[in-house]
């Protein structure tokens, strides 16, 4: 009988999970939506995400309408009444196209969510391997540093870092990042979130370190790098794959929260978080400006969370209980929301 790899069985389990497929399809649709931003902006809306149209007028079904009334009221959704321009209306008194900003804002939010998830997962794996393999003082230093970060409320730490870096930027030797750069929220989120992944992974590495295959590799003359990256890392992949979408979803929520309080993406650039913040000022007259980016964040986070759960079930169904205990650290989502 032909042998099958664990990845094959995982793939089969994932494929038979309807919720997972739906979540994946939803996430893919969202990605396509935001990637299409330049096409919509250039060919349909004929405007950029930051272009203002405060004093302009448009033709809607043969009627000339102001994009922004003299009293500051922005035009609402005109759908296809103006050939796709201002499909979802204007974003406020600056008269920017809401649809275009929603699409470009999604690119920013996804970029920050996925980018910071990559960095935080990468950093967490490295720290977990170092701490778990070497143990002793290396483990003590790394673990206490992670404890220190863990001790801060994640949102407050992120706001403090984001606010100061948004004004002064980061100038650290050869690294120079301006305050308005997207790297600021990416790095801040990566830093504060690393500990939430590194701690459970470190526990996993400590357990794996005691296993026979590791002892055999060491006895066979394998050096630390070989053991860490050749023996231990492959055994972490299933957990890393599970962590990744969950981290991306959490990071997107954190980005939105940071941008909402002005410590994330800096204007005039849009993200779904900045759009909620801007729309909040017009909540009573134009609630859609808050609801739309809010709904997009909800759908994206939901799809990634469902996908993460499905990946966990598919890759290591026996570890469900164990992983739930680990991912208990994802509770801050509630705090962010």
């Amino acid at each position: 009988m032909e042998g099958r790899s664990p990845w094959y069985f995982a793939y089969r389990r994932l494929r038979s999970n309807r919720v997972a497929i739906t979540a994946l399809a939803l996430f893919a649709a969202i990605v396509v939506f935001v990637l299409a931003a330049p096409l919509w902006a250039d060919w349909v809306a004929e405007t950029g995400p930051n272009e203002t149209h405060t004093v302009e007028k448009i033709e809607v079904g043969g009627e000339t309408r102001e994009v922004v009334e003299v009293d500051g009221t922005p035009i609402g959704p005109v759908w296809l009444g103006a050939g796709g321009k201002f499909f979802l209306g204007a974003d406020g008194r600056l008269g920017r196209d809401e649809m275009v900003r929603l699409m470009y804002g999604g690119r920013t939010t996804l970029l920050i969510g996925i980018g910071s998830a990559l960095i935080s997962v990468g950093l967490a794996v490295l720290l977990a391997l170092l701490a778990g393999y070497h143990r002793g003082w290396v483990d003590t230093v790394i673990s206490r540093a992670l404890d220190l970060l863990w001790a801060f409320p994640v949102l407050l730490l992120a706001i403090a870092l984001g606010s100061s870096l948004a004004v002064g930027g980061l100038d650290l030797g050869p690294i120079s990042i301006s305050g308005g750069s997207l790297w600021v929220p990416i790095l801040v989120i990566s830093l504060v979130y690393t500990t939430y992944i590194a701690r459970p992974l470190r526990g996993e590495v400590l357990a794996l370190r005691e296993r026979e295959f590791v002892e055999a590799a060491i006895a066979g003359g394998a050096g630390p790098l070989r053991v860490m990256f050749g023996e231990l890392l492959p055994n972490l992949w299933s957990k890393i794959i599970v962590f990744f979408p969950l981290a991306a979803a959490f990071n997107m929520l954190l980005e939105s929260a940071l941008s909402f309080v002005g410590a994330g993406v800096q204007p005039p650039n849009s993200s779904w978080g900045t759009m909620i913040s801007a729309g909040f000022q017009l909540l009573y007259t134009a609630p859609l400006l808050t609801i739309l980016p809010g709904a997009m964040i909800t759908l994206t986070a939901l799809s990634l969370n469902l996908l993460g759960d499905a990946l966990r079930d598919a890759l290591d169904p026996k570890s469900k209980v164990e992983l739930e205990a680990h991912t208990g650290s994802f509770e801050p989502e509630g705090e962010v929301l």
Binding site: E51, T52, T54, V55, G262, F280, T285, A286
Partner: protein
């Protein structure tokens, strides 16, 4: 025994009641007493320290706690700009060609902690102002010996003599100063105890002389007042022209979202919101509450974008003129929801010396031509703004305008609590241009020129000349006019100065804003005083 007729009894009782109510009460204190007034501010004041606070929030917060020797009448409109005696017995006696001012401190006054107010406290207060490099320093640097004190060459300011026994305070100036009486009435020289440290006291404000004292300060979040125990016991009778207030306690809270401020007032959770209505709520709130709980009040203010003349590219006049041509007043009007009246000059309507002119009508083509002529090599610009709506949106619009002119622009949005401290620090990096406004401190055009546009006002911290505009001819004219009493001729010269400054375009002014007074339904709306300098007068608030 003869009985009193009912009519006579009513008359006697009414007379008795009126007599009792007048006892121990200052003018303007009739009406209901007691209760806790809750007010909201979108940002915490720059400081709760009278010597260094220079924001509308700070002045409004301290109008009734720290009383200067002279103060402004607790009234609306032009009456509210009238200088009246504060802790001084009378207005100053001027002599020596307008260079010597003599005042007498009212005898027997006490701070809220019970210590007596002494004439020497005044001198210590002015010295404290200089020691802290207060933004008010330029107003008082004409006092004899002030410069020496500031430079550390003297232990005290020689030009202020005080006598604690008689309460006599004599101030000698190097030159006559036409606006000095008005400047004495600003909160900057309101006496505080002589031993008050020369450090910002926001977290623990000094004891008060006015009807209210600040009993709790939570920087960034709020502060609370209670009645000054020494007011009723002591100061009220000595200062009968100052109102004593109606409510017993005032709680000020920072609510950064102005829409939430509106909701809180509508629901009676807050009794007054300090800030104007957010632009998107103006129309609906006006329709529902105007005349009952809402009043639109004109302000004597100038809203503008400062252009840092000390740094490229705005050290080039053509670039500054281009920016002025590129701002569309119609766009600004919409961004401020129709609450701004377009203007392109330093002096706002309502200020003596204002004469309308328009040097830079909106003309994008002309703006682009000016930029092409200047061809600035430095095209990287940082635009600064605070996060209060719609100032942030006006700055986003401005950022777009600069981008259209070919600049590479970064927008920095700062919390309003720190904004003025940050842009008032000349070492702040990339301080190129940004949003700013200025409300009158006193009804004299010097208030718009000396602190904001005189080279002498440029300071490393608490800088008020944010454009760092330093033109020797303009400086000389500002100094010369500041020495003169305000006559129609002098007003004409200020109008000319306004034009000369705008020919140099250190700012891109865009208008004067109307403000709003919005109170909850349980506040006696008709009795609330909106002072043109201090906004809502906390002593005038009372419950129905």
């Amino acid at each position: 025994m003869k009985k009193l007729s009912p009519v006579l009894a009513v008359v006697v009782l009414a007379v008795l009641a009126l007599s009792f109510s007048a006892c121990g009460s200052s003018s303007g204190d009739e009406g209901s007493k007691g209760g806790t007034l809750k007010v909201s501010f979108a940002g915490f004041p720059d400081y709760l320290d009278p010597q260094i606070s220079y924001t509308a929030e700070g002045w409004s917060a301290m109008y009734n706690t720290y009383i200067p020797l002279l103060t402004y009448a607790h009234a609306e409109g032009t009456e509210g700009s009238e200088v009246i005696p504060g802790l001084a017995e009378d207005l100053p006696e001027k002599s020596n060609g307008g260079k010597t001012y003599e005042l007498t401190l009212v005898d027997g006054l006490k701070y809220s902690d019970g210590t007596p107010v002494r004439a020497s406290d005044y001198k210590a207060t002015v010295e404290r102002l200089f020691e802290m490099e207060s933004p008010a320093s330029p107003f008082f640097s004409d006092i004899v010996g002030a410069e020496d004190f500031l430079e550390g060459k003297a232990d005290g300011i020689a030009g202020i003599e005080t006598d604690d026994k008689t309460g006599r305070i004599t101030i000698d100036l190097n030159n006559p100063r036409g606006s000095f009486e008005s400047e004495l009435a600003m909160p900057f020289t309101a006496p505080v105890p002589a031993d008050t440290p020369a450090k910002p006291q926001t977290a623990s404000p000094p004891p008060a002389t006015g009807p209210y004292e600040i009993v709790e300060s939570r920087p960034g979040r709020g502060w609370s007042y209670e009645r000054n125990p020494q007011w009723e016991k002591n100061n009220a009778d000595l200062l009968p022209d100052l109102p004593g207030g109606h409510v017993d306690r005032i709680e000020a809270t920072v609510v950064s979202n102005q829409s939430t401020q509106v909701n809180d007032v509508e629901q009676g959770k807050t009794n007054w919101m300090f800030d104007p209505l957010p632009a998107d709520r103006v129309a609906a709130v006006k329709q529902k509450y105007e005349g009952k709980q809402l009043r639109v009040v004109p302000s004597i203010s100038t809203y503008f974008f400062f252009l840092n003349t000390a740094r490229p590219p705005f050290d080039d006049l053509k670039v500054r003129q281009a920016v002025n041509h590129a701002i569309d007043p119609a766009a600004i009007e919409r961004i401020y929801a129709g609450e701004i009246t377009g203007s392109q000059q330093v002096l706002p309507p309502g200020m003596p010396g204002y004469e309308k002119f328009e040097l830079y009508p909106f003309d994008m083509k002309k703006a682009e031509e000016r930029i092409a002529e200047a061809n600035p090599s430095d095209r990287e610009i940082t635009v600064w703004t605070n996060s209060l709506s719609p100032n942030d949106e006006a700055s986003e619009y401005y950022e777009g305008v600069l981008r259209d002119l070919g600049f590479d622009v970064t927008l920095k949005v700062i919390n309003p609590d720190n904004y003025f401290s940050l842009i008032g620090n000349t070492s702040t990096p990339d301080l190129d241009t940004g949003w700013l406004n200025w409300f009158e401190d006193y009804p004299h055009p010097n208030d718009f020129f000396q602190p904001l546009l005189s080279g002498e006002s440029i300071a490393s911290t608490f800088n008020t000349n944010i454009a760092q505009f330093d033109d020797p001819e303009i400086n000389a004219k500002i100094a010369e006019l500041s020495e003169q009493e305000l006559t129609p001729e002098v007003e004409g010269e200020y109008a000319e100065l306004d034009r000369e400054v705008m020919e140099q375009a250190p700012w891109a002014p865009f208008g004067s804003r109307s403000l709003t007074l919005f109170v909850s339904s349980d506040v006696d709306f008709d009795e609330v005083i909106w002072n043109p300098t201090f906004s809502g007068d906390l002593t005038s608030f009372q419950f129905k």
